[in-house]
Amino acid sequence: MARMVTTRNKVISTAAAWLVGFLIFFPILWMVLASFKTELEAFAIPPSFLFFHWTTENYVTVQERSDYFHHALNSIVIAGGSTLIAMLIAIPAAWSMAFSPTKRTKDVLLWMLSTKMMPPVGVLVPIYLIFRSVGLLDTRAGLIFILCLGNLPIVIWMLFTYFKEIPKDILEAARMDGATIGRELIYVLTPMAVPGLASTLLLNLILAWNEAFWTLNLSTLEAAPLTVFIASYSSPEGLFWAKLSAASTLAIAPILVLGWFSQRQLVRGLTFGAVK
């Protein structure tokens, strides 16, 4: 009897979970389908779900008409560059706070967190004016700089929570054996830190890739990443739904894959360790 109830519950919860999951995912699926339709079919009523003339012409057109790869490359350079630089600055800082904590470490960490809470719009005006006067508007370097600083607190926090979990005894044992700090770093710490480093890298790539405040305000064409490129489809006149969908699918596909790998770290990174 009890077993039957369990089976029934399992069937019900499975059906419900799949239905809800499908509904939540549907807008993305619908977009991907639209990207393989002709423009006419994309806004035909009644809509065709699977039985339409599948075509990849939108993907070709998106590249030919608007140089998609130029913007994709900008996204890669800006998201990758800002994340890597942030990591280079954050690794020593997080290492130092995790392994040689002082009385003030907690305050420093919380202060860093509080810089992330500053709304970007509060400093939009000075940043825009500074960028304008030094010629950083619409440059990749400018965006790398801003996104790097914007994500730095999250990077430090995530690394700190990972580094803190590395058992200190191991370091002491290495020190007893006469390892210098340099050797300790390379042979003991690094291998143990790699998983944490990888997930921090991943999450921050995603955040930087999707960042849509600074990129929209500080770039127009030359340095415009995909967020800005997609926004250019917002003009009410051009009903290019199939092309919008193709460009969007290309823009989110790589990040969706990375994101699915990093969903566990997401919780940790975005709640600053408050929920594990």
């Binding site: 799949w18 995912f25 993305i28 002082t102 907690k106 000075p126 823009a251 969903q263 408050a274």
Partner: protein
Amino acid sequence: MATQQTQLLARTLLTPAVALLFIWMIVPLALTIYFATLHYNLLDPGSESFVGLENFRYFLTDPAFLASLQNTLVLVGSVLAITIILGVPLALLLDQQVVGLSIVRLMVIAPFFVMPTVSALVWKNLLMHPVSGLFAWIAHLFGLPAIDWFNDAPLFSVILIISWQWLPFATLILLTALQSLDEEQKEAAEMDGASAISTFIYITLPHLARPITVVILIETIFLLTVFAEIFVTTGGGPGLQTTNIAFLIYSQALIQYDVGSASAGGLVAVVLANIVAFFLVRIVGRNLEA
């Protein structure tokens, strides 16, 4: 001796990050405060002059400010309510025995990874378009009139899109918290004859109190400055109906080029965010000691 050396090294390693973040926080903020006391319009160069608190008086008494403050609060409040009211049952559902859970979880979390400009445009065109959108077709199937979403209920449309983006975040955090709930406690309650509802009210819900607080605080920080979704769908309109504080400041700075007034607005946004940040930092700090 060795410890002193280590401490020196630790400090040296920490310095670049602290210095950069300090500059990043202080310089723009100081400039914002400075600009906020000036009459400064980029269209009228050379006319900069000190006006004291005039910009604040102008910004705070501007009818657009009250409208956008109200929109900001409605937007934040609604998205929070929707994501938590739907997120709790959804997390409970995913915490059950579900066949193929990992695939379901991927589908649920996916919207969070979609860049804001993409989600906003896909919803606006493919789903919410009053003639050719999927919603219009569904309404037609049921013999209902199609809704002209962005004209009839512009703010609600924006809220709907943003809720879709943030529901996965709330669900994922609540699910993570649920999975750390002690199974034994629930089983003991069941043994004692507690109903599913009272188990939920007396055991599950108190356990979720903290993660819900964290969701509220973190979402609030991001939602206070929603920008891209409004930028690509409504441009703040019709009228001021979807203008939030972030968008108002943007339009004053980069469309009307009124640096002084936009800076005053920026400081108002900083104060609002800090009220929330105060509580979030305390919660995180308490957790750091545990």
